[in-house]
Symmetry: C2
Subunit: 379 residues, 2 copies
């Protein structure tokens, strides 16, 4: 609970990086996948099981927590680490993305954004300063600046306006953060939609202001993967190598490997838990939909060689039954399988980068996905 | 996986008994509370966490499992212990009670009962022989005879007809069970509604047939607690002391202590998990409804002195938040708290009986419930 934020680059392999982030609540090995604990819980999982699955850090959502239970309340209850019984590193987003995606009505002005709460319809204001205040009340190890996410497709002028506004808010976020508790970190967020020039402008502007780390936001919102990867390729060379790079809201296991190959260090996504609750397991054989009737009589576990008990100690037939019977345990087990698989993938990436064989590792993993699941005997 | 069913009486204190059941899958300390795993899962809990909460044995429902995923399928997948990853003792009920309470349409004949599945509307037949076959396919350590539960209030002639039918089915159940795998046990079920004479007739008839243990069924269906306790008092003296006695579907923590005081050894009830999912915690301060707004700012855990991490490591404010936000973890944590509290209560009863101070123990526990919850400071 004392070390200040720091990032150490341990190894590189091409553009891929193996590093380590120090935070007041412990270390984060990078490349890192952060499970999403939207409402101060990684859905369906005990925090000890999130840790056991290999996670060093989780993400929590400022937008949700400011509306319920409220940032001041979390602070009174001892801060977010205590609140959710996760004594390890926490990153909070700034709420900008959810304001765009969840609130029915929003008005953006240079001052900030006013929106209608999706919970009770109340009008709520979020400014760069308030977003920092909330994240400080929550006690985040890593806070994010408030940004404006422009919905794609968008015109060039809309994208440029979003970049300018986000840069102005970045400046104000840094000012507001300056008085904050020592050791915590603030990341800026690169915007610019699918426009390479706007992305570069955004990244340069942020680097001029100076942050502990740099995120790439406003991607994984429906654009093709090659657009997302192209934007990463434009932005990464502008960012200082001594700072971690975080690709927000991404993605599939394949997205992660592609982005790691292009020099990205951190990821978050609801996909492993959301898809798990809907019956889909991510495995080294690719995604497996346990709702499919072909699993009903399959006595094999998802992956007998997995280190994750949820993948190893339950038959596919049982997982199928739990999903058909709409039992909570189905979502819990498959969320656990998926978080563990994402962590396993990042661990493999870290080892491969250190060993200088990340490209081989990626080919091997992608080959496993392409081959697909091994059918049960007799089917 | 080898010891045969046996019951050993370790100590008595008045009518209360401390014992130990041996089964092919391990020991059950009595008095015992069996968490209910209706669809082959104790709702919302990992099996390892059910075990860690102190449970020696769980109950699973024949009615549900015969309809989905099907007993033959569970057998093909290695039996219920393997299926639900619970390598410890399992008791299965016979389906009789759920046929009464869940199926839209049922026709009872001397041969058996035909009912409409609540899942897909198919007509299904359950006979005493089929109920045994299903439980054998599931691999239950303790099976229950098929019985007919008469809905109360009922006329004397209805109750007597139910007793006669259940006795005839008891006889057939024993015949069907006789060819079964060594070491497994079969319990008879005393019926007779709220009629003492019918209860005694039923119990005597079962003892004449001879079972490994005796259950009292058809109670906890809405009758006053004093009627339930009066029926137990009528039945217990008729039952052989060398066999375990099981009060089916009961009940509140207070019910359990009252029934233990009257010589009952085993219990099952959905209350700890169902109420937990609805926000109610059972504690030594009595039940606490975490949905109540008074908990929103309460930094205290449910019980700082509990051995259960779910009761100790999360604030009431957090549990309140999880319930308001409808997060799965709320139901999981409160189910865990409640199963652990029920097990803690049974452990206390076992120790008190051995020490010869069960009456004092019960008074002390009931006094704690009466005093109620300790308000948060400043409220």
């Amino acid at each position: 609970m004392s070390a200040a934020f720091a990032f150490r680059l341990i190894a590189t392999d091409g553009a891929a990086r193996r590093g380590e982030i120090t935070t007041p609540h412990g270390l984060v090995r990078t490349p890192a996948f952060m499970p999403v604990g939207t409402q101060a819980t990684v859905k369906g999982m005990l925090p000890a099981d999130v840790r056991a699955a290999g996670a060093d850090i989780v993400l929590a959502n400022t937008y949700h927590l400011m509306l319920r239970p409220g940032a001041e309340r979390v602070a009174r209850l001892g801060g977010l680490h205590r609140f959710m019984n996760w004594p390890h590193p926490i990153l909070t987003d700034s709420g900008g993305f959810q304001v765009m995606s969840l609130s029915a009505l929003r008005e953006v002005t240079p001052h900030g954004v006013t929106f209608r709460s999706h919970l009770d319809g109340a009008m709520v204001e979020l400014t760069p300063e308030r977003a920092i205040e909330i994240q400080t009340l929550l006690g985040a190890d890593i806070s994010m600046q408030l940004d404006e996410c422009v919905r794609l497709p968008a015109s060039r002028s809309e994208i440029e306006r979003g970049v300018r506004l986000s840069l102005a808010w970045a400046e104000r976020s840094k000012q507001a953060f300056a008085g904050g508790e020592a050791g915590r970190a603030l990341f800026g967020i690169v915007q610019g939609g699918d426009d390479a020039a706007a992305r570069i402008d955004s990244a340069r502007g942020l680097v001029d202001i100076g942050f502990h780390g740099y995120a790439v936001g406003g991607l994984a919102v429906g654009e093709p993967q090659d657009v997302m990867l192209a934007m990463i390729e434009e932005v990464v060379p502008v960012l200082p190598p001594e700072c971690p790079r975080y690709l927000m809201g991404v993605g599939t296991p394949g997205d992660l490997l592609q982005a790691v190959a292009r020099g990205t260090d951190m990821f978050d996504c609801v996909m492993p838990t959301r898809n798990g609750r809907h019956g889909v397991a991510f495995t080294r054989f690719g995604p497996i939909n346990l709702k499919n009737a072909r699993h009903a009589d399959d006595a094999r576990p998802l992956d007998a060689e997995s280190a994750c008990p949820a993948a190893r100690d339950y038959s596919r037939g049982y997982l199928h039954h739990l999903m058909k019977a709409k039992e909570m345990l189905g979502g819990t087990l498959l969320s656990t399988v998926n978080i563990a698989y994402y962590q396993h993938l990042m661990q493999g990436a870290r080892e491969a980068i250190e060993a200088g064989c990340f490209a081989d590792f990626r080919r091997h993993v992608e080959e496993g996905w392409r081959q697909g699941d091994i059918p049960a005997a007799g089917t």
